[in-house]
């Protein structure tokens, strides 16, 4: 077994919380503040792991199982994501669908765990989350399917291994549109502004945060970690597409990929700082735009 195959997963597991730190620093920069340390999420998770957990009387085993299932599904999903040209641990044809549906499963777990609490806030958040994710799924699949068509591969590792500058030269505008579509999907799935405000404290305005309102202690730590992994996963898709450096040299590919993730995190932070949150009824418009982007990319490729 090639040691290099463990690198994407290892780096993902280690570095994912750093993304949140970078995003928060960028937002603080725009706000003229110094902001929390880059490693803040690590400290938060460590703190939460040390605490005790409280379960509400209205919850059942579903609520307890939720966070663990979410984490395990997310880790397995991330295991299939390559790091640019470096393949994942054990790719197989069609693992792209497995990836998409593992993430869908995490969403499902979160939703039913939220519904299990019986809290109306969490139910409201769950329905919103379900709605927006259902809308975003076509965008994700359409975007990814263009990549499948372009590369001729159905495995994530295979797809991203074949995205090199030549392909960009051929299909430039189409791939740019796919990147835009995937970017919109990232914002939706990872609950960033302009879809959801991760810093809001008003339950009525929350989507993702409200679903984890009743989680505490290690459960909350696990969930926070899982969401950072999810952000890393979607980010890898975009960076793998947008940074077509496939030199074959491990260090170079690694380094460019990490730089790409850094830039992506800064970009997300910038978007969060410069855009206002959309009215909930206007979110479908944004997602339709993402779907339109993906369809357009298809049209350009099929020409």
């Amino acid at each position: 077994m090639d040691v290099t195959r463990f690198i994407p997963l290892a780096i993902a597991l280690l570095a994912a919380p750093l993304l949140f730190g970078i995003i928060n620093r960028t937002k603080a920069f725009f706000a003229g503040r110094r902001g929390s340390p880059l490693l803040q999420l690590y400290f938060d998770i460590a703190k939460l792991m040390r605490k005790g957990v409280t379960y509400s009387n209205t919850t059942t085993w579903v609520f307890r199982a939720g966070p663990v299932l979410v984490l395990s599904a997310t880790i397995v999903a991330v295991a299939f994501v390559p790091m640019g040209g470096i393949p994942a641990i054990s790719p197989f044809p069609g693992d792209i669908l497995l990836f998409a549906y593992l993430l869908a499963m995490t969403r499902f777990m979160t939703i039913i765990a939220a519904l299990d609490t019986g809290s109306s806030f969490e139910g409201m958040g769950a329905s919103r989350e379900a709605f927006f994710s259902a809308l975003a799924e076509p965008a994700l699949l359409l975007g990814v399917s263009t990549l499948v068509y372009v590369s001729g591969q159905t495995s994530l590792s295979g797809i991203f291994a074949s995205v090199n500058p030549a392909v960009w030269g051929n299909y430039g505008p189409a791939l740019a549109l796919v990147a835009i579509a995937l970017g919109a999907v990232l914002l939706v799935e990872c609950s960033r502004i302009p879809i959801d405000d991760p810093n809001t404290h008003l339950e009525l305005t929350m989507i993702h945060e409200v679903m984890i309102l009743d989680n505490s202690g290690p459960d909350l730590g696990i969930i926070e970690y899982a969401s950072s992994l999810k952000l890393w996963a979607f980010g890898s898709l975009i960076v793998g597409l947008a940074v077509p450096v496939r030199s074959g040299i491990l260090i170079v590919d690694c380094a460019t990929f990490l730089v790409g993730m850094l830039v992506l995190a800064v970009l997300v932070g910038t978007i969060e700082s410069t855009m206002g949150r959309l009215r909930l009824t206007n979110v479908p418009r944004l997602i339709s735009g993402a779907i339109a982007s993906a369809v357009l990319a298809w049209a350009l490729i099929l020409r």
């Binding site: 030269g169 430039g172 505008p173 549109l177 479908p284 418009r285 339709s288 735009g289 779907i291 339109a292 369809v295 357009l296 049209a299 350009l300 099929l302 020409r303």
Partner: protein, 217 residues
């Protein structure tokens, strides 16, 4: 057409601006998008000529960019301000649905253009004809699905843009006189429609075309 990547960007930008126009809810944003579209298209004569420097091509490019990028938006913004209309687009067909219908038009024009035996010399020209056709249909859709008279004028400009793109791709060297005629026509049409919108707003106190429905039968 030369310069693969840059030339390919023009039809893509054309379609993207169309879709953004369909999804925009602010009038100023709509006007800016149509102006941007005009500027992008104005570059076509220059790119058509390729490496050779042609006075007529540059002249046409400058004229159409000035017209579509500066003068039209100025006229429209002035009309917007002086008629005192509200700055929101009020559509008959909702934004999300418009966006999806626009995508449908893009797919439709790609399909139908491949059925016609259009004499497009290069793949870029082929893409441009499809983009032009899609723009034409989307412009028509904007005219039909928007409530404000100013929006209908924008839809008309988008139609003209589509025809311009379509023509540029199809007929490699349109007689300059005819091309100028198109520009002049667009300019005069927009100018006159603005005047008409002015008159309407003066008489009616609004430019909501949906309420112009007294004449029937």
């Amino acid at each position: 057409m030369q310069n693969n990547l840059i030339s390919e960007l023009i039809p893509v930008l054309l379609i993207v601006t169309n879709l953004l126009l369909l999804g925009s809810s602010r009038m100023r944003a709509c006007i800016t998008l149509v102006a941007a579209q005009g500027i992008v298209l104005g570059l076509i004569p220059v790119l058509l000529e390729g490496q050779q420097f042609s006075v007529t091509a540059w002249f046409l490019a400058i004229v159409s960019i000035t017209l579509k990028g500066i003068i039209f938006p100025m006229l429209l913004v002035r009309t917007l301000r002086e008629t005192g209309t509200r700055k929101e687009v009020e559509p008959f067909v909702g934004f999300t649905l418009s966006l999806l219908i626009g995508v449908g038009f893009v797919i439709f024009s790609m399909w139908i253009a491949s059925r016609m035996s259009l004499p497009a010399q290069t793949p870029i020209a082929a893409l441009m004809t499809r983009a032009g056709l899609a723009t034409l249909l989307i412009g028509l859709f904007v005219i039909v699905s928007r409530r404000k008279a100013l929006n209908q004028v924008l839809g008309y400009i988008v139609m003209e843009n589509g025809i311009f793109a379509f023509g540029a791709a199809l007929v490699a060297d349109m007689p300059t006189l005819v091309e100028l005629g198109v520009l002049l026509d667009a300019f005069v049409a927009v100018f006159i429609m603005s005047i008409a919108a002015h008159q309407i707003s003066r008489e009616f106190d609004h430019i909501d075309v949906d309420q112009l429905n007294t004449l029937k039968g």
